[in-house]
C-alpha cells in the first residue's frame, strides 16, 4: 500500500531485489550526493519517529544504489506558535541549493505555497509530509508530493466512530483540544464531527483547552471530570493530552475502559509511549497516523523524483489505524524497529 507508482518502491517490493535492476539504478545514481532538508514544525517524539523511519530507507538505498545522503534537520525553535520559522529554514535551504526539502509546518498555506513555487522555480524540489493537504484545493499545492494521511477520515473520523462503536452508539464524551486551531485540528474536527453526526447518541458534555501538553491536559480533564460525573469517553486531540486525561481518570478514582465499562480514552499520534500505556490499560486507544510509513515513503518519493526523475501522485496517503489492546503489539514493534536505526544521518 505504499504510495503510488514509484519504480524504486516497486523494485524494493520484491524482497530479493534484482541485481541487474540495482546495478542499473546504481548507474543512474553514479554515487551522487543528495542533499535533503527535513523540517518538522516542532521537535517531538512523533517527528523523531518519522525521521528515523526515513533513515531506514535512506540506509537501504545507500547500500543498494550507492547514493550518498546529506541530511539536515532544522525546526523552528520554540513553542507551537513559532511556525513562521519554517519559512526562513526552507528559504535558507533553497539558497543553498538543496536537492529536496521535506516540510511539515504550521505556517499558513498560502505563504508556504508561494515559497514552494519560488523554490521549484529555482530547481529545488519540495515535499510535504504529515501535512493536512486535504483541506486545500489540490491545484493550489506547489509540492512534488504530499506524504501523509487524511486527517478527517483517517484520524478524526476513526476516533469518533471507534468511541461510538465501543459505547454502543450512546454516551457522554469530553473533548480536549489544543489551542492552536491548526490545520490538523481542523481536519480532525471535521472527521470527528462527522462521526458524531452519524451517532446522535454520543453527546459532547464538555470541552477544554489542554495546550497540547500533558500537565495541562491532565488539569483540564480533571476539571471536566469534576463537573461531569457521567462521562463515558475522553477524546484528546493529541496523545499527550489523552494521556493526561488518563491520569485524571486515575486521580478521580474512576475506572478505565475494560472493554465493557469505565471511561474510554483515545488520542492520536501513535507514539511508543502511548502504546505502552495502551498495553498497561491506561489508554484505551490511539490513532496511529502511520509515521513510520510516512518516513519511508517520503524517501522513496524523493529518490524516485529527485534522482530518477519519475513522477508520483500529488497526494500519497499512508495507512492509519486505531490501535488498542488488540493490535498494539505489532504497531509498537513496527515503530520500535523504525526507531532502532542502522545509521544516523545529519550529524
Amino acid at each position: 500500500t505504499a504510495g503510488g507508482g514509484s519504480a524504486a518502491a516497486g523494485g524494493g517490493g520484491g524482497s530479493a531485489g534484482s541485481l541487474s535492476y540495482d546495478d542499473a539504478i546504481k548507474k543512474v545514481v553514479a554515487g551522487r550526493e543528495i542533499k535533503v532538508g527535513f523540517t518538522p514544525p516542532v521537535l517531538s517524539e512523533n517527528f523523531t519517529q518519522i525521521e528515523h523511519a526515513a533513515w531506514h530507507k535512506m540506509y537501504e538505498y545507500e547500500q543498494r544504489f550507492g547514493c550518498r545522503w546529506v541530511w539536515e534537520r532544522q525546526a523552528p525553535v520554540g513553542d507551537f506558535n513559532a511556525v513562521q520559522g519554517t519559512l526562513g529554514i526552507v528559504q535558507s535551504w533553497v539558497s543553498r541549493k538543496f536537492d529536496a526539502i521535506a516540510v511539515c509546518t504550521g505556517a499558513n498555506f498560502a505563504t508556504v505555497q508561494a515559497l514552494y513555487q519560488d523554490a521549484s522555480d529555482k530547481g529545488v524540489k519540495i515535499y510535504q509530509f504529515n501535512q493536512p493537504a486535504e483541506l486545500y484545493p489540490p491545484e493550489e499545492l506547489r509540492t512534488v508530493t504530499n506524504v501523509g494521511y487524511d486527517n478527517r477520515w483517517q484520524s478524526g473520523y476513526l476516533a469518533g466512530t471507534y468511541i461510538a462503536e465501543k459505547l454502543g452508539g450512546s454516551g457522554n464524551i469530553l473533548q480536549i483540544w489544543g489551542p492552536s486551531g491548526s490545520d490538523w485540528t481542523r481536519g480532525r474536527k471535521i472527521g470527528f464531527d462527522k462521526a458524531l453526526a452519524e451517532n446522535p447518541g454520543i453527546k459532547v458534555v464538555g470541552e477544554a483547552d489542554g495546550g497540547y501538553v500533558r500537565d495541562k491536559g491532565f488539569a483540564a480533564a480533571q476539571d471536566l471530570l469534576t463537573k461531569n460525573k457521567d462521562v463515558d469517553a475522553i477524546y484528546g486531540e493529541n496523545e499527550e493530552m489523552a494521556l493526561g486525561a488518563s491520569q485524571a481518570i486515575d486521580q478521580a478514582g474512576l475506572k478505565h475502559w475494560d472493554g465493557e465499562d469505565g471511561i474510554l480514552t483515545i488520542g492520536a499520534d501513535g507514539l511508543v509511549s502511548g502504546y505502552d500505556q495502551i498495553s498497561a490499560g491506561k489508554l484505551t486507544a490511539t490513532v496511529d497516523i502511520g509515521g513510520v510509513d510516512q518516513g519511508q515513503n517520503l524517501i522513496e518519493a524523493i529518490f524516485a523524483t529527485a534522482v530518477l526523475g519519475e513522477t508520483v501522485t500529488q497526494i500519497i496517503n499512508n495507512p492509519t489505524q486505531v490501535v488498542d489492546k488488540t493490535n498494539v503489539d505489532w504497531h509498537r514493534a513496527y515503530t520500535k524497529w523504525a526507531l532502532d536505526v542502522p545509521k544516523k544521518y545529519g550529524d
Binding site: L43, S44, E45, A208, R214, A220, D223, Q247, Q251, S273
Partner: protein
Amino acid sequence: MNRASTPSHAAGEALRRRVLADPSIGILSLLAIASIVMSIVEPTFATEGNVTNIVNTMMTVSFLAIGMTVVLIAGGLDLSVGAVMGLCAGVAANLLTQGLSMPVAFAGALAVGAGIGLANGLLITKLGIPDFIATLAMMGIAGGVLLYWTAGVPILGYMNQTYYYIGGLTRIAGPITFPMILVVVIAVAVGLLLGRTRFGMMFYAVGSSPTGALHAGVRVDRVKIAAYVVSGLMAAVAGIHIAGRTTTVPPLIGNGYEITAIAAAVIGGASLTGGKGHVFGALVGALTLTMTRNIINLTGVESSWQAVVTGLVLILAVAANQAWTVLRARSRTKALAKGSAATSPPLASRTSRVHHPSPTPDDGVGSDAPAAERRPETIA
C-alpha cells in the same frame, strides 16, 4: 497612647498592619467572592474533589512562584525558571532511568537547578548583564540543552511507587498529597527566612535600594546570587515534582511557565521594582491562576474565549490589589485628618502623616510598583 508604646502591642500592631497592608488581601477577597458565586452557580465547584484538584494543580506554579518571589524581592527577575524546571525534570528522570537511586537523581536535579541559578547570579552581578537578558539567554540555553539531549523524545519509564507519591498522584492520607506538604514546608521555611532572619532582611534591602543596602554593609552581589540560586533550586523542585505528575518528561514541558510564575508572584504582591513580596502572596498568585482555569473549565466558557478571560482576570487581579491598597490608604488618611483635628500632640501628628515618596498628580503615571503605595489619594 500608653498602650501603643508597649513593645508587644507595637509588634502586634505591626503584624496587623503588615497583613492589612498586604495587597494580596485584595485579590484574596476577589477569590473569596468568586468562590462563593461559583459554589452557588456550579455545585461541583465546592466539592472536596474539585478543591483537591485545584490545590494539586497549583503545586508546580507554587514552587516556581516562591522562587520567583525571592528573586523579585531582591530586585531581580528570572525568565529561565520554566526551562530550568524542564531541564531538571529531565535530569531527575534520566538519572532514574539509568538506575540511580532517587536521592541521587534528585540531588542531581537540584544541583543542576542551583548551578544554573548560580550562573544567572554570577552573570548578572559580576559581569553586569541585565537580569532580563541573562535569564532570557539562560532560558534558551537550558531549554536547548534538554531538547538537544532528548532529541525531542520524551523521557519515560522512570516512574516508581515513591515517585507517584512525589508527583502527588498517590495520596498520603485523605486528600493530602506529598507536594502539598512539601509546599507548606518550603513556604514556611522560605517565609521564615525572609521574614525572620538577617539574611532574609538583606533580600528586601537589596531589592529596596541596592545603594542603601551596600551602605549598610550588605554584600549586595552575594545576596542577589543567593536569590537566583534559590530560584534555581525551586525550579528544580518544581521539575522533580512535575516529572512525577506527568509521568513523562517531554522536552517542551517548561514552556511558558516563567511568565506564569512571574504573574503569580506579582499578583501575590511582589513588585518588579524589588523590595516587596512574600511567600504567602506567591501561593495566592498561584491559586488565582489555577482557579481561573478551573472556573473557565467548569463553567464551560467556550475554549476560544479562554485566553480572553485569562487576560481579563490578570488585569482584574492587579486592579483588585490596587483597589485594596487605595481603599486602605484612603481610610487611613481620613483617620489622620480626623486625628489631627482632635487633640493629638504635635509630635504624633507630625510623624503619623502619610508621606509620598513620589509625586503623582491626578492624571499621574502608573508604574511597576503599585502606585497607590506611594500616592494613596489619587484614584478618585
